[in-house]
Structures are given as structure tokens and as C-alpha cells.
């Protein structure tokens, strides 16, 4: 198992803020919009350096999406920001008509996705957003795993022409990917090559997958770990290649089982390469208040759960 270490923990939303700061300096077409959550989205540096290119929209997300679409038509590259809950379900129709169907170059960048939003509870813990955005034609969906990858994804989005949904989170998590990584939209990242099982993870679950790999290694299980940061378009080739090699798959995401990464992987495998799959995710329920760690444990979204699903799926191999 390839060794991954970290020297610090940082929140992925700060990676977004750092990416925006860099875009502010190098791309004059980038504008940022926010619905009264500037500090949460870590936009301070961008706003300080580019006050004229920031549009405070107040607590009016639907209008923010429309304003973003209008600015995109005029030639700007709007990054519309809020919490994931308010940047997906609340404005689904606005995104659908004014952004995706209209092909406007709007980047919807959302923080506090999933259970790790923590204490605020289920009203804010969106676990259906990947499903919604995946279902929408023309939409690119990205869920990076740490600070560096989020920063790289943010910067890459400015050069990608078309609607996109970038999802990241609130808590500090290990920074384990390269600071100077090249982010390729739609391209899986091979975290660890292995032969016994493919663990396909996204977002905060990638680090947990690495920890699971270490647990499994001690049991003599050689896990292949793939980071799918771009859920749509899915890197089908990488997944099929890995599943062909290992013969079984475990997916892991901080999202509902319905409609998320696991669903996308199952659809791909069912059509092309029927393979036993076990899935880590929230099973048709809302979240609740608690610390991020408590919630991830209670809902089975951690290394121990991944390892246990791996043991189960290996038994199902023919």
C-alpha cells in the first residue's frame, strides 16, 4: 500500500477560497457571487483584491443563479457560491433553465455538503445534491477530497466552458494530495494500485478509503483505491479497467446511496461488466446534529465501515 501522510488538516472550502484568490489574480473574467455566506465560503481574499468583481446577492439564491446566468451571457465566468443545500435543491429549476439548458458558463460552488456540516443538523445537511446535479443534462459534477484538490479543481473550472457544480465541505480534513497537482476534469486519480478489490471513493471518503486500505493490508487484502473527484462525466474507462482486474467494488461517498457516485458506478458496471458491488453512503435517511466524526461513525461513513464492506464484497466474488 502506497504511503500517504499529512502534516496538516484544512477544510476543503478554504481550498476553494485559495483557488478563487488565485483566479482573481490571473483571470479578469472571473466574478464571484455569494448569498450572504462570504466567510463560510472563504471568499475574503478574492473580495479584498477584486471588490468590483464580487456580487453580494443577499439571502436570495434563486436570483443569484439568474444574475450569474446573465453575467455569463455577457462573457463573465461567474462562480455562484452558497451552502450546498441552497445551491442545489433550493434552486434546481433556476439552474436547470437558466444555466444547464441555456448552456451558460456558471460554476455553482457549494460548501457544507453532507453530514460533516455537523451540528446545524439535517435541515442543512444536503445528501441528495449529487443525485440532482447528476441527473441534469449538460452539468459537470465535481466533489474533491482535500484542500489541495479543491483548490486545483476551482482553478481548473475557470478554463472549462460550461455549467458545473463543485461540492466541498466544512470540517478540517487531512491534506494529502499534491499542492501542485494538475486537475483534469473527468479523470480518475489512482490513489493506490491493488488487485483484490476496487475502492472507489469521492470527497471526504477518499482519506477514509486510504485508512481502510491500511487496515485491509494487515489482513492480507490488497485494495486498489480510486479517487473519482468528477462524478459526471464519470471516468468509465478507469472504473471498468479496475473492476476487470479486481472483480469486486466498494463505493464510498458522503451522500445518499440513491443517485450518487455508487449509483453511477453500478449503472456503469451493470451495463458493461456485472460485478459485485457494496456501497458506503447514507441509506435513505436524513442526517442529524452532532460532531462530524460522530455523524460519520453513526452513519457508517468511515474507514472501519469501508473495510467491512470490502470483506463482504470479496466473499461475493466468483
Amino acid at each position: 500500500m502506497k504511503k500517504y501522510t499529512y502534516t496538516e488538516k484544512k477544510d476543503t472550502r478554504s481550498g476553494f477560497g485559495a483557488g478563487m484568490a488565485e483566479l482573481g489574480r490571473k483571470n479578469p473574467d472571473v466574478v464571484a457571487l455569494c448569498a450572504d455566506l462570504v466567510a463560510s465560503l472563504k471568499l475574503d481574499a478574492f473580495i479584498k483584491e477584486n471588490p468590483g468583481r464580487f456580487v453580494q446577492c443577499g439571502i436570495a439564491e434563486a436570483n443569484m443563479i439568474g444574475v450569474s446566468a446573465g453575467m455569463a451571457i455577457a462573457g463573465y465566468i461567474p462562480f455562484a457560491t452558497t451552502f450546498a443545500n441552497f445551491g442545489s435543491g433550493r434552486v434546481y429549476d433556476q439552474i436547470r433553465q437558466s444555466v444547464a439548458y441555456s448552456g451558460t458558463n456558471v460554476k455553482i460552488c457549494v460548501s457544507h455538503a453532507g453530514l460533516t456540516l455537523g451540528e446545524d443538523g439535517a435541515t442543512h445537511q444536503i445528501l441528495e445534491d449529487i443525485a440532482m446535479m447528476r441527473a441534469m443534462p449538460e452539468m459537470t459534477v465535481i466533489n474533491p477530497c482535500d484542500y489541495n484538490q479543491t483548490m486545483a479543481a476551482t482553478i481548473a473550472l475557470a478554463d472549462h466552458n460550461g455549467p458545473a457544480y463543485l461540492r466541498f465541505g466544512r470540517p478540517v480534513v487531512p491534506v494529502f494530495t499534491d499542492a501542485d497537482q494538475k486537475f483534469e476534469i473527468g479523470k480518475a486519480w489512482m490513489v493506490n494500485e491493488g488487485k483484490d478489490v476496487s475502492i472507489i471513493a469521492t470527497g471526504h471518503l477518499v482519506w477514509e478509503a486510504i485508512l481502510a486500505g491500511e487496515i485491509l493490508e494487515k489482513e492480507g487484502i490488497d485494495a486498489e483505491i480510486i479517487n473519482i473527484h468528477t462524478i459526471k462525466p464519470l471516468d468509465e474507462e478507469a472504473i471498468l479497467k479496475s473492476a476487470t482486474k479486481t472483480g469486486c467494488v466498494v463505493t464510498a461517498e458522503e451522500h445518499q446511496l440513491n443517485g450518487g457516485l455508487g449509483d453511477a458506478v453500478c449503472q456503469l458496471l451493470g451495463r458493461n461488466l456485472p460485478t459485485p458491488v457494496e456501497m458506503i453512503g447514507v441509506n435513505n435517511s436524513f442526517g442529524e446534529s452532532g460532531t462530524p466524526a460522530q455523524l460519520m461513525e453513526k452513519y457508517g461513513l468511515n474507514a472501519a465501515s469501508i473495510a467491512s464492506k470490502v470483506r463482504a464484497v470479496i466473499k461475493r466474488k466468483k
Binding site: 436570483n63 450569474s68 446573465g70 453575467m71 455577457a74 433556476q94
Partner: protein, 288 residues
């Protein structure tokens, strides 16, 4: 364009509308007819648009519209009007109007950019979104130092959508005095009169309270009055406030049996009704 020409153009556009809706036996003639004079005045007189032509003779359309006045149709269901105006203005062949709402057409039931129909900048139809998009365009023009004007047309029933008021709050906050919102105040919506379905009360007072300057347009089916209101709106530029024109129109205007009722909001005429309608609308520019 002189007044007589504008009136003749509006008459032809009205013919196009009823013929298009008849041709596919679906669509929304009422509001389309009611706003025909406004869109004629905008596209054939008031708006400064790019006149450059492509090799095929049709207008060269730039979606970004830099330096151009821009029109957004928020109440997208009056698409027959929009398509007729765009084709008659030279964006695409009038013959294409025959494809309205039919399979494999660029003229979708509600306006769409998906098939790159020249003249359309954003999809609309799901109500309440156009004002926000127009405000974004107006804000972008301000940032770019582009002095042109952005227009958006909404229905009065559409004012029931919450997002309209988010946009109404945004535009004065950013002092978008390059934005003109026109509300088609025909007092009708699908389920009946707006007073009965969901009383809008004093729409003008609401916009005023939100920080807009309002203009009352008493007869939006009189092109002279429409032009006066549009000129007045342009004169208000530079005063730091967006402008709302409350435009009273008659749904179905120009076709007697389609007026004074909400029945023709989304109903197509049969052969007999079409003939009766066309008798009232002189063919001035040649049917498609």
C-alpha cells in the same frame, strides 16, 4: 421606422402568431397578441442592435451582445411573438416559423438557446427567472462600461413568483439604471383574472417601494404610447434607479373574439377561427 410601418409590421406579426399557433394546434396566442406592439416598438425602433449581416443575409447574432441593447423574454410562453419578431427583424428565415413547436425544430414551445436559434440568449418558460438574468446582464454591462440598455418583459401573473421580488430587490441595490422591466398588465392568467386567482394588488407601488422608478403605460396596444413610454424610460438612465413600465394591454389584442377573456391564454384557433382572425389582421409583409 415610421409609425405606419411599425403598425403594419405589428399586424403581420399578429398574423404570424395566429398562424403559428394554428399550425401546431398549441401555444399561447393571447399574451403574444397583447405584447405584439411592445416587441415591434422595441425591435424595429427603440433598441440599438447589431446590424451586421452574415453572408446569407441574416443578422449576425452575438449572444454576449456587447454594445447592443438586449431584450429578455421572461414570460417565455409568448414565444410565437418572439419568434415572429426575431425572424421579421432578420435573425432567421421567416419560413422557419412554420416549424414552431414541431419535432426537430429550433422553435421550441418555449424559447431555448439549445439549438442556437439566433436572437435567443437564455431559455425561459419556467416563470420568474428573466428579471434576475436581465439584472445580471445589466450589472455586467455596468462593469464593462457598456452604456447600452437591458429590457425584460414579464407577465403580471408572473409577479406572483417569489424570485421576481428577489430580482426586484437586487436591481436597485446595484443601481441598475440601465435596466428596464416591462410588466404586461393584462390582468389575466391561466385560471382566470389575476384579481381572482391571486390578487397582485398595486404592482407599481410594490416596485416603487423596492426602489424602482415606475412608468404607467395606459395603452400598451397603441404603438405611439408604447414608444413614448420607452423614450421616457431611456431618459431616466443615469439616475441610479431601474425603471419598471406597467404596461396595460389587452390579451388577444387585434382579434376581437380573443379579447376580454383569459380563454385564449393557451388555446389554438381552429380553421374557422383562424380565418376569422386573419380577416382582422391585414397581411402587410407577406405571410411566411
Amino acid at each position: 421606422m415610421e409609425l405606419k410601418q411599425l403598425q403594419d409590421t405589428a399586424s403581420q406579426i399578429r398574423r404570424d402568431i395566429v398562424r403559428m399557433v394554428h399550425g401546431c394546434q398549441s401555444g399561447h396566442p393571447g399574451g403574444s397578441l397583447g405584447c405584439a406592439d411592445l416587441l415591434t416598438a422595441l425591435y424595429f425602433s427603440e433598441m440599438k442592435i447589431r446590424e451586421e449581416k452574415k453572408e446569407d443575409g441574416y443578422l449576425s447574432f452575438s449572444r454576449a451582445g456587447t454594445g447592443e441593447d438586449i431584450f429578455f423574454l421572461s414570460n417565455g410562453h409568448i414565444s410565437p411573438l418572439f419568434y415572429s419578431v426575431l425572424s421579421r427583424r432578420g435573425y432567421f428565415p421567416v419560413s422557419e416559423l412554420a416549424s414552431f413547436r414541431k419535432i426537430n425544430s429550433r422553435l421550441q414551445g418555449h424559447p431555448a438557446t439549445h439549438d442556437h436559434l439566433p436572437g435567443i440568449r437564455v431559455a425561459s418558460g419556467s416563470l420568474g427567472q428573466g428579471l434576475s438574468v436581465a439584472a445580471g446582464m445589466a450589472h455586467a454591462k455596468k462593469l464593462k462600461g457598456d452604456n447600452s440598455t437591458v429590457y425584460v418583459l414579464m407577465g403580471d401573473g408572473e409577479q406572483q413568483e417569489g424570485q421576481v421580488w428577489e430580482g426586484a430587490q437586487f436591481a436597485p441595490h446595484y443601481k441598475l439604471d440601465n435596466l428596464v422591466a416591462i410588466i404586461d398588465w393584462n390582468k389575466q392568467q391561466i385560471d382566470g383574472s389575476t384579481d381572482k386567482v391571486m390578487n397582485n394588488r398595486d404592482i407599481g407601488a410594490k416596485y416603487e417601494a423596492f426602489g424602482w422608478t415606475t412608468i404607467s403605460l395606459e395603452d400598451g396596444n397603441d404603438i405611439v404610447q408604447v414608444l413614448e413610454a420607452l423614450h421616457k424610460a431611456k431618459q431616466l438612465k443615469g439616475q441610479g434607479k431601474p425603471v419598471a413600465i406597467l404596461m396595460k394591454t389587452e390579451m388577444g389584442s387585434g382579434v376581437d373574439f380573443m379579447m376580454h377573456t383569459h380563454k385564449w391564454h393557451g388555446t389554438a384557433p381552429n380553421d374557422e377561427q383562424l380565418a376569422k382572425a386573419l380577416e382582422q389582421l391585414p397581411e402587410t409583409l407577406g405571410d411566411y
